[in-house]
């Protein structure tokens, strides 16, 4: 396909992805908000709105802030199609984001390119379907599988899925910028050691940790850029 035609095709693809994404995301949102009321009709009891508001002021505000931050950070990584899918299917930090980045690294594509858009969408869609299938099979087999999955011997394995994931990812990404990794890890460790109450809010601590890592990377990026500009001028 010629460059111009490919560009037009991609622009059209993006346009329809956004239109489709908006319609389908809104449909899922309506279904999710309506489901408690439909269940309420079945159970003959409706949600207690004052209680919902009270609990929302307690925990909901935190998720409102983290939802906005996640949106701002992850949309650039996931592209258009990947973003709609990821926000519909959830489990962003523990699966969708690492999965999309892993896929992107495997085939070596750059952020913001058409290749990244396609690869991220394929990766998020595949991982979401795998989760849906595993959960559906699990629910189907829940009764016979429950004793095996809940056996005390296996609990340490399943309780540590997230550390297992982050260990592997650390090995992969720390190699890209060892200095920044060491500084960020040290600063965050000191924070958690001296303010242990923060351990319960680790997902929120990703924000300052990420900001520090980006700041350090930017400084090193600018330094490299200046050096290469100096080299070119010379």
């Amino acid at each position: 396909m010629e460059n111009r035609t490919a560009r037009e095709y991609y622009e059209n693809y993006l346009k329809t992805t956004h239109r489709l994404g908006r319609i389908l995301t809104a449909s899922v949102l309506i279904l999710l908000l309506a489901a408690p009321y439909v269940i309420g009709i079945y159970l003959k009891a409706m949600p207690n709105i004052p209680a919902v508001l009270k609990a929302f002021l307690g925990v909901g505000i935190v998720y409102l802030v983290s939802g906005i931050v996640e949106y701002l950070i992850y949309v650039p990584m996931l592209g258009a199609g990947g973003s709609y899918l990821a926000f519909i299917t959830g489990n962003l930090i523990n699966m969708k984001i690492p999965c999309a980045i892993n896929a992107r690294d495997i085939v070596g594509v750059k952020s913001g390119t058409p290749e990244n858009e396609i690869i991220a969408t394929l990766s998020i869609a595949t991982s979401s379907l795998v989760t849906i299938i595993v959960l559906a099979l699990g629910v189907l087999l829940m009764i016979p599988l429950q004793p095996v999955l809940q056996s005390p011997a296996l609990q340490p394995a399943f309780e540590n899925v997230v550390p297992a994931l982050f260990g592997a990812m650390a090995c992969k990404y720390y190699r890209a910028d060892r200095k920044a990794a060491l500084i960020v890890l040290t600063v965050m460790t000191l924070l958690f050691v001296f303010v242990p109450s923060l351990i319960g809010s680790t997902s929120m601590m990703v924000i300052p940790s990420g900001a520090l890592a980006i700041g350090l990377s930017y400084l090193s990026f600018r330094k490299k850029q200046k050096t290469s500009e100096g080299g070119n001028e010379a």
Binding site: M1, L33, L85, V134, P163
Partner: protein, 259 residues
């Protein structure tokens, strides 16, 4: 217990299963569109197939972890509702916390089937939907405008001119840095747990998460070494899942050591 039977009834499976089915169709539609577009744009099909294989292997283990979350919540909320929440939009970390807060606000003390009432269940279910919908709301109203503002090097007319210098090329570095930040926050929290988790500088906290993370990192190091030595690209498809599996198996061993 009568309520638990109602929460596990076929009607509940129908309501929750219907929504999950709808989301599955959405995933398939997006995947097929992306694959076709990739072909049209000249992306190597073998690359796209590798992405599908890698994402499948990558997702299996975390999915089993999520399934365990469904099992954990099924005792107090029945099976269909946690199944829906964790298949769609939800995240294991969030759901329990939100359900617990809603239980307290609904006046049943804590999340337990013993005190659960139909009204408390409907309240919990609604709050769970309400609390974690913001990403969806933002992507509906602002997704297109926000993602179009992001620069595409392949599309200079979309903003490449003003990014000619300074920030150009920083996008990928920033993404890697963000990931370093994410991983560091969690690994640092594991170290913090050991040192101060059970009292400042008590060194009484669980070392299991850190030991698992280190084992996984070591396994990943072996995969990277094999790939670099042999040049076998297929190793990439299984490296993360393989490292996780190794570390999770080690966790069983470490768990026995702790006793």
């Amino acid at each position: 217990m009568e309520l638990l039977a109602e929460l596990n009834s076929p009607v509940m499976y129908l309501i929750c299963g219907g929504i999950i089915l709808f989301v599955s169709v959405i995933c398939i539609v997006f995947a097929v569109r992306a694959y076709r577009a990739g072909r049209q744009l000249g992306i190597d099909e073998s690359k796209m197939k590798r992405v599908i294989t890698a994402s499948t292997t990558f997702a299996v283990l975390p999915s089993i972890g999520i399934l365990l979350g469904v099992i954990a919540l099924s005792g107090s909320l029945g099976t269909p509702w946690p199944w829906l929440r964790l298949s769609v939009i939800g995240a294991l970390h969030y759901e329990t916390q939100v359900a617990e807060a809603a239980s307290e606000a609904a006046g049943i003390g804590g999340l337990s089937i013993a005190n659960m009432t139909p009204e408390a269940f409907a309240t919990i279910a609604f709050l769970m939907s309400l609390c974690i919908m913001w990403g969806m709301v933002l992507v509906i109203f602002n997704g297109e405008a926000y993602s179009r503002r992001l620069v595409s090097p392949s599309h200079p007319e979309k903003g490449g001119k003003k990014k000619k210098s300074g920030m150009s090329g920083f996008g990928d570095t920033a993404m890697t840095a963000m990931f370093i930040g994410l991983v560091s926050a969690y690994i640092a929290s594991y170290i913090g747990t050991i040192v101060s988790g059970n009292g400042m500088f008590s060194f009484q906290g669980s070392w299991l998460p850190l030991a698992v993370a280190v084992t996984s990192a070591a396994a990943m190091g072996v995969f990277i070494y094999i790939k670099n030595r042999t040049g076998a690209d297929w190793v990439d498809s299984f490296s993360v899942a393989g490292s996780m599996l190794t570390a999770m198996a080690a966790a069983i061993f470490f768990g026995r050591l702790i006793g």
